[in-house]
Symmetry: C3
Subunit: 137 residues, 3 copies
């Protein structure tokens, strides 16, 4: 059994943003030299998330619009009395900070239109971490 960890460090530029990390994750899978197993993608943050979907400009706009509508800044949230980012915490809670993809014959199994995105919900931030872990043999 082999286990390979890599921490991706990303600078975010906007309040809310989708950053395509597919190539970075695929590079980690190659570096791991693991042929069969799984690849875990996890953000150790409570105001960010991970999603998989198509990298098409219009769709990225739609995803960001949907997040803003579902988790509006001015929702009268209790957490805003402490820190002005309740919407970011709520979106992170419900979208989720983790996903995985199978690894087979040295490659991620993923659909043609299935890219991997870090979802920044409370940026900009100088350093966001994404933990990529490959487990297998």
């Amino acid at each position: 059994m082999k286990i390979y960890f890599k921490e991706l460090l990303l600078r975010t530029q906007q309040r809310r943003e989708l950053i395509d990390i597919t190539l970075d994750v695929e590079k980690v899978v190659r570096e791991s030299s693991i042929s069969n197993g799984l690849c875990l993608i996890f953000v150790p943050h409570a105001t960010a998330a991970i999603v998989l979907n198509e990298h098409e400009r219009g769709l990225l706009n739609d995803i960001m619009r949907k997040i803003s509508e579902m988790y509006p800044d001015n929702g009268g949230w209790d957490h805003n009395r402490i820190d002005d980012n309740a919407a970011a915490h709520l979106a992170s809670t419900f979208i989720g900070p983790a996903t995985f993809m199978p690894v087979k014959e040295g490659k991620l199994i993923r659909g043609t239109w299935q890219n991997i995105f870090l979802v920044e919900l409370d940026g900009p931030r100088p350093t966001r971490k994404v933990v990529v872990e490959v487990i297998g043999e």
Copy 2:
């Protein structure tokens, strides 16, 4: 360490549909001969998803109704200028294409009312894939 892959191929019949794949996944777990570990369930598609819940006709209606209401076809989505299926992509993004269940003593750990469903969001399609991967020993 053992790793066992199986690709389920499913034909979908409707635009939006829930297909119960519990028995298929349990069969894969038996075939794997893995006693303890985990079972990954992953759709390599950007307009489908995986959920776990009760197989009761009324609840399946409720799930499909909720998806239609949260991700309406006529939402004025940017992605519809490219391809007329933004609602399907959005639902897939937020519901998610992956889940897992623990495997113990050769069986999936699952609740009495916890069946596994492929969520078709942009059908009908002649071939939808579900990757089932069992890892353990």
Copy 3:
């Protein structure tokens, strides 16, 4: 390869409730003596869920409020003709019953503000189970 299972048993007190299980999960990771791998957290229930986020009283209120608004009891759900808990099943379906965290050098990788919660959606219940599984070496 080592695999370690532990079933947490929890009594819930309210209809809808967030119960912080971070310390319990960290204890399981220590007991497992696994240095590197992953920790799976899974509820075998169709009316409960798992989320990760900050343990701040106002935010917990916001999360519960958002769940009630997205999945209202009186939503005219078909499943309520069978059993009066469609809202709980819907919330469990879309929030999801499973997540994982990486384990490195004997510890969960988690953000400073990233606690682990069981989400009770149809309580109170005398016994809710959370399956914690640690896999690695």
